[in-house]
């Protein structure tokens, strides 16, 4: 009996979680962006090269899920170029942007793997 109730409650909880409207989707995106905002203190402790490597790692993860953003690879390329030319401060800006967009794209991939179902047309 207890197991039966557990199964039913799990289903009810999952059903509630799957209900979403545009406001929730918007909130989800905000959460995704927020979660992608990198910890400033943690970043400050890292070198530009390390941030670029982090960005490349996350970019590859997003690409593996077929959700890479075009802007991420551009920021990575720009960061590497600026770093090689000795423009460390500018390279840092590009590297941070690369990491942020990479993390946002990965968060999008994970969110959308489930969220798409709420958007699909339902048969009557």
């Amino acid at each position: 009996m207890l197991k039966f109730l557990t199964v039913v409650m799990c289903f009810m909880m999952l059903s509630a979680c799957s209900e979403s409207d545009k406001k929730t989707e918007s909130a989800d995106m905000s959460i995704a962006v927020d979660s992608a905002m990198v910890d400033a203190d943690a970043l400050a402790a890292k070198s530009v090269e390390e941030i670029i490597l982090d960005a490349e790692l996350v970019y590859r993860q997003a690409k593996e899920m077929e959700h890479a953003w075009t802007v991420t690879s551009k920021h990575i390329a720009m960061a590497r170029k600026l770093l090689s030319e000795g423009h460390k401060d500018d390279a840092l800006v590009s590297a941070e942007r690369a990491l942020m967009t990479a993390e946002a794209s990965l968060a999008q991939a994970k969110r959308e793997n489930i969220a798409w179902r709420d958007r699909a047309l339902k048969s009557s």
């Binding site: 039966f4 699909a120 047309l121 048969s123």
Partner: protein, 273 residues
Amino acid sequence: MKNWLSLFVGSIVFSGFAYADPESDRIAFKTFFEKRFPNIEIGEHKDGAYALDAAKREQWLEMEDFPPYEIAVDEGEAMFSTLFANGNTYADCFVNGGIGIKQNYPFFDTNRSEVITLEMAVNDCRTSNGEAALDYASEAMGNVTAYMAFTSRGNTFDIKVPDAGLSAYEKGKQFFYERRGQLDFACSSCHLDSGGNMLRAEILSASIGHATHWPTYRFKWEAIGSLHKRFAGCNAQVGAEGLPQQSESYRNLEYFLTYMNNGMELNGPASRK
């Protein structure tokens, strides 16, 4: 006994997560667009945005007087008729000699467990006859598929989804509804939710009818190109990295979209802006 009862109930309550019925999806899709565009017969959506605006349609019909894809069709016919080194031709690979068969593609090959598009079938034909495969983005592939599409005009799609193909169909459906790119758009964002609306200076076409008219000569490309090339372009427009033509995901997406177009008339190749 209690464990079996829990399992039984669990399987019932979780059955909502099982694969959808493609035919129910198609009917829901069709009904959506019938309601969205009550004055446009569903079959007219094969002309895309030109079914939605009279002035644009008139301009487009004038362009069709001298179709820009004519050269591709002629060159494709020449390719189709040219013998391979071993003496065979494309006609030896396809039912009905490859004439009037595009409505059968894509299909789910249960032996290979994957979706096979017309472009893949062309390359399968070539390699099985000792010829080099064509680059999917090549003019040659565009030409031969343009010719095959031309011979299939007027036929109607009747795509099947066997049980083994449900996973591929579902993945294609997921791709269609999944948001991607920095702009966070899904295919459905523009071509379902916003179909008929303006995006900059263009009218967004409805998804129903999206698979009927390929390959297409796009004036933007100044060349004939495939549906997968358009997928990649759309992905890039929303800030997402496009996938290679004939990638598994794009084939699954084409499978889903084409199933949604079952019963619709093929009218490729076509011209588009």
